[in-house]
């Protein structure tokens, strides 16, 4: 199980991207702005967050999150 920290979440997310783009992902990164962002990549992320945090994000959650930090907060909120 991952811890609850933003750092753990960041490391978890980075591993879902290609090695050379991981460095570019920080707390303030807007995931949708990444070159690797695609509908497939979105589904992979939703699936992995579900497996790790037991939270199934919906389309609005992803639209509302403008940064990794916000996405992390949504996941924390939904976990409760």
């Amino acid at each position: 199980m991952s811890g609850n920290s933003l750092d753990t979440f960041l490391n978890f997310l980075r591993l879902l991207f290609k090695e050379d783009s991981r460095g570019a992902i920080g707390a303030e990164t807007n995931l949708a702005s990444l070159k690797e962002w695609s509908s497939l990549q979105t589904m992979i992320i939703v699936n992995e967050i579900d497996k790790e945090y037991n939270v199934v994000l919906d389309v609005d959650d992803l639209k509302n999150a403008s940064s990794v930090r916000e996405l992390f907060e949504i996941v924390q909120l939904k976990k409760r």
């Binding site: 290609k18 695609s38 509908s39 497939l40 979105t42 589904m43 992979i44 939703v46 699936n47 579900d50 497996k51 199934v56 994000l57 919906d58 389309v59 992803l62």
Partner: protein
């Protein structure tokens, strides 16, 4: 018969009907996902491994779902040695009928040489269509006292996909199936849990060509929705992420309810045959349910997502020995367009299953 309804589920059982045979027919034409145009080979590889789909079967312009179903039914009738004059009803489940009207099941009755006393039904259901159709056909036999019915389930969804929609092209494939049902006083009951979410009717939709948005010149204009998605009004549109969310959220609880209501432990189920949406969804549902992935057969690699037919096609492709389905207890579950979700608990005993037919 027994039923129990709540807001979220409709559980019921149907007695005295047994499944006697299942057959499937696919177009001979194969299309490899490795040949898809893609800007990045590494991305394409990731797409193929996530979806689990390497090859798809694509109908020729003149091949219809009904043609595949008729081929599957002909083979099944001959292997079962059934007398056509004894068939009381045909149920045809499809989203790709031959014509807007009349119902395709009528022409199928004539093509299969079935008697005029045979009742015919067309049912518009997709991914959950096999389980829906099974519930209707078996309820019809159980309550009427009639003897034999054919459940034909088929789709040629590839005909609805835009050639410029890279999000849907890798998924869909074509197939037609036939299942034979018979009244049998000694049969074990069939159990169902069926739900509908009509508020999500537009998550998977063909907008134009029905009575709501009649076909017009505007139906043939390509619009760009994304750099890799261009389609016309007559093409299939899918809000993939919403459907994915529905699959992750709703399928496992529906299956759990059916197991609870039927007082079955997971270990009592030999196989869980799910709609073959994609491999990532299959793996996630298996994990949520805490079931061994070996009990969740997949036919995705060679046959892709064939809409309404995935459940019987997977049984024919993966769960047969010789010309029979392995004797087993199966939980069947379909989910998707509608949105709808339907699961069934079915005991397979001596169910005839010919090899999958390839139709030129």
């Amino acid at each position: 018969m027994y039923n129990s309804k709540s807001d979220s589920m409709a559980f019921f059982s149907i007695a005295h009907v047994s499944l006697k045979g299942i057959s499937a027919a696919v177009p001979r034409q194969r299309v490899s996902n490795f040949d898809l145009e893609h800007h990045d080979t590494e991305e394409l590889q990731k797409l193929i491994s996530t979806l689990g789909i390497e090859e798809r079967r694509v109908a020729t312009p003149s091949q219809c779902a009904s043609d595949l179903c008729v081929a599957a039914a002909e083979k099944l009738l001959s292997d079962l040695n059934w007398d056509r004059s004894e068939i009381d009803a045909v149920f045809f489940v499809t989203q790709t009928p031959d014509y807007q009207l009349p119902g395709t099941s009528l022409h199928i009755q004539e093509r299969l040489g079935l008697p005029k006393s045979c009742a015919t039904f067309d049912i518009n259901q997709g991914c959950a269509g096999y389980v829906y159709g099974l519930s209707l056909a078996s309820a019809f036999l159980s309550s009427s006292g009639l003897k034999k019915a054919l459940l034909l389930v088929g789709d040629t969804i590839t005909k609805l996909i835009s050639p410029f929609d890279q999000s849907l092209l890798p998924l869909f494939s074509d197939c037609g199936t036939a299942s034979a049902l018979e009244f049998d006083a000694k049969a074990e009951p069939l159990y169902f849990n069926i739900t509908s979410e009509g508020e999500n009717f537009d998550k998977i939709i063909v907008n134009d060509g029905g009575a709501r948005n009649g076909f017009s010149e505007a139906s043939l204009v390509y619009k760009e929705y994304h750099p890799s998605v261009k389609r016309m009004g007559i093409h299939l549109a899918m809000k993939g992420l919403d459907v994915f969310h529905f699959s992750l959220k709703k399928v496992a609880p529906n299956v759990e309810e059916l197991l609870e209501k039927t007082k079955r432990e997971r270990s009592a189920i030999d196989y869980f045959v799910f709609h073959q949406a994609n491999q990532m969804i299959l793996d996630s549902i298996a994990k949520k349910l805490g079931i061994d992935p070996a009990k969740v057969p997949s036919s995705l690699k060679a046959f892709g997502n064939t809409s309404s037919t995935t459940v019987p096609l997977t049984i024919a492709a993966r769960l047969k020995t010789g010309n029979k389905v392995m004797d087993s207890t199966m939980l069947l579950s379909g989910f998707g367009v509608g949105l709808s979700l339907a699961s069934a608990l079915v005991n397979f005993k001596e169910v005839v299953c010919p090899d999958i037919i390839e139709l030129s």
